[in-house]
Symmetry: C2
DNA sequence: AAAAGATACATACAGACTGTATGTTAGCGG
DNA sequence: CCGCTAACATACAGTCTGTATGTATCTTTT
């Protein structure tokens, strides 16, 4: 009864506040898109004031940036949690893991549609670079040792974009197996 | 000297006004992005008032829509003007024609970055559908007659996304020949 | 060809939003 | 226990969007 629940460390206050704002913002960005979401709406959903938001974030795009970083972390976690099922082909495992990670509601909208427009392609690439095209490039380098590294890098970039688009289509209701099969065809054509 | 140059038909007035607004808007959308461009800026650049803009367009996104439609028409014209050089492989010709069309300054930003965010992927797909994935799907259907049409459609979608990304990289200064080679590898792997 | 109506704008306004400046309260180091 | 700073809250200035309303210029009808 006498818990003095107002007594908390600054760090825990900040962390919780940031989390509240980021979660509220994510939900609204997904529901209405970045442009149609206002900061008054965000703070209302988080049940705080705009002062809190502008204390923790430089501006509205900075809130979006935080949402994207969180999303990117969760995608990486999801992928490495999935890992390969026993006896599954590594390409299939990787593809399915990525599609599954991107199937979380709103993720495609945030990462593939609004992200590039709000933060720019360059920054989005930096954020997802490590888990995204990098692992694909490594796989290609192993499978195609005769190709130059520049050529492999270009191939990884366009294949990564193809994976992104497949994830988008699957999130829209497209048939995952069909896209999986398409990538298997491409891959075996390249390596076979 | 007595030309009464104020005497013009309504249609020509409208057409010229729309063109002025669309051109001014395109330049600003490319320079600053859609979100950072305001309607006061657009009408100032076009040397008219906001009344004219809101007479011809429902809202700001409708101006953007008009810019995108114009851009899509020009892309199709550019592609069919290019056609195939004598003796060039049809895939190379098609790829190069597309890359060249998308190399016009600002085009990648409008069609691949801002377009999907402002108008949505669905509407963008409808706008560019005919010239975009449709021709690619036809080519694939001819090259891979044993595949089902659903599978071919999925393949066309992801390859189209790969072409888009390649166009983006080339517009950023990437090496066109390298991406051309990558698509040749993929294509020969699929059809060979 | 003159009235009647529609079209093509221009101007004025209401509401909302962004970012900043300025307060106030609560933790924290010495 | 005291100055300092972090974590907010409140108030404000400037700008933007979309609409409502006014006016001039065609266009159509009789």
């Amino acid at each position: 009864m006498q818990e003095k629940n107002t007594r908390r460390s600054n760090k825990s206050r900040s962390d919780e506040m940031r989390a509240r704002l980021i979660n509220a913002a994510r939900a609204l960005f997904v529901e209405k898109g970045y442009a149609e979401t206002s900061t008054p709406e965000i703070v209302k959903a988080a049940e705080v004031t705009r002062g809190a938001l502008y204390h923790h974030f430089a501006d509205k795009t900075d809130v979006f940036r935080a949402v994207i970083h969180m999303e990117a972390r969760q995608i990486m976690e999801s992928i490495e949690t999935y890992a390969a099922q026993e006896g599954e082909d590594p390409l299939d495992a990787g593809s399915r893991g990525y599609f599954r990670a991107m199937a979380v509601p709103g993720r495609v909208q945030l990462m593939l549609i609004d992200g590039p427009a709000v933060l720019g392609v360059t920054e989005m690439d930096e954020i997802v670079e490590v888990g995204g095209v990098a692992s694909l490039r490594e796989g290609l380098e192993q499978a195609l040792p005769e190709r130059g590294s520049k050529d492999v890098a270009a191939m990884a970039i366009i294949l990564s974009a193809a994976f992104d688009r497949a994830a988008l289509e699957i999130a829209r209701g497209g048939d995952e197996d069909r896209y999986l099969a398409a990538f298997r065809s491409i891959w075996s054509g390249l390596t076979g």
